[in-house]
Symmetry: D2
Subunit: 144 residues, 4 copies
């Protein structure tokens, strides 16, 4: 993450979301807490899934689990500054896909997050990503 | 709270704030968690204080503690629906003031909150509310 | 709450629970955050319900909603000090009951909380508290 | 993490901590939320730092920032089951060190976390880890 300069520019993300920070996101160090940063990434992920289902009725209601998450903390985040979140699908495997996210405040990249989303089957821990879902996800690549 | 019908109408609050709900605000019952509702009221209170200080440089940087908080839960709150928060100053005493807040979703009152804010002195637990601060607070009464 | 001296003595509560505080419970003021205090009261309430059901199989799995909550903040709470929580049933009505809770650290009362728990019916917003549940709750009065 | 079998055995961690889960740690899926798992790892990290300073007065009060965090989610965590956390220092660099943590419930490994802790200088973003601190950290290796 940290070493890919494209990731530090909000313009390279296929989808963005504005999330107001909350007082609760601060810790005694008076900056955005590390775990609160994860909360902002979680919100981005969940809202993306809602959006995807709403705009692609053909994909149904797929169920995902987070299998892995990695975060690089690049700068101190602050409250009450708005957080602008970037979201891009980095790669799509057989039954999982990798998401790249960025948290930006006042144009500055505060943190980067990579998440591996595992597609769950109805009765199996994992299930192949169906073509319609794959196609929907492919519309959100990282640019640059 | 519950018995004052004015409190259930967003139009009666002197100041309003939109706060997007977050996935984290839900609990296993799939509605807005009771304590998460308190978080939304906290955010409203903190943002009001920022706004007041920004628009009234003469009040300086007063420090308050929450001495008491009461919440009536009137309906189930939901995610990802936007929360619109109402804020009004109900009464002002010698060294504390009482705030009335409401949480609304889609025009419906989900919860009401009353908070007693205690004005702290620099070296004393409480301190009289100075005239400039009193005057600033008086501009935000409950209507109706 | 604040005016009932019995409430400030842990020994007067019928049931107690130790809850370690967490770093996340602190806010930028470096004490236990007001809403985090509500989290500790929530944990106490939920654990009491688990305990009650486990020790009284005859009450089944009753479902409650919080209808009202009030908190008096009496002192600054601190991390990483252990929180000892007191729980007592203050009164039992037709379809709701009132709970009194206290948060203590190093023997000092940090906050008091009263909660009105509404007994939900399977198809109705409220339902009468059955005799077995009433009898189970009556075993946890406030002492003193 | 996931591929190092030593990491999945609590006995291989140099330091352990019991953290009771909380109702707030669950999300609408009724298991421990992914970000709540990060909260448990945060608590482990903070408590370790308190413990280290208490047992090694010679290291003073070093200040660290989290530069990177990675989590592998291996199984669903549950409430109200106790979480037992494992902590080990994986490696120590010039001005940062790598921590390996594990979250266990009923003997089962629920999640693994690696964190890069950056040692901050008083006036510089990073500062060399002094010998006394290095020596204190070396006492907590991963076993096996």
């Amino acid at each position: 993450m940290r070493n890919d300069p494209r990731r530090r520019d909000l313009a390279n993300y296929a989808w963005t979301l504005e999330v107001p920070t909350r007082f609760e996101d601060m810790d005694p160090n008076r900056h955005l807490n590390n775990v609160a940063v994860m909360r902002l990434f979680e919100e981005t992920r969940v809202r993306f899934n809602w959006k995807l289902r709403a705009s692609h009725p053909d994909i149904g209601h797929p169920h995902f689990l987070v299998g892995h998450a990695s975060v690089d903390y690049l700068a101190e985040g602050e409250y009450p500054t708005l957080a602008t979140m970037g979201y891009a699908v980095l790669s799509i495997g057989t039954s999982s896909f990798r998401v790249g996210k960025g948290l930006f405040q006042k144009g500055k990249c505060v943190a980067l997050c990579d998440t591996v989303m595992v597609h769950r089957g109805e009765t199996t821990p994992t299930a192949p990503i169906p073509p319609a879902l794959r196609s929907a996800l492919e519309a959100f690549p990282l640019k640059g």
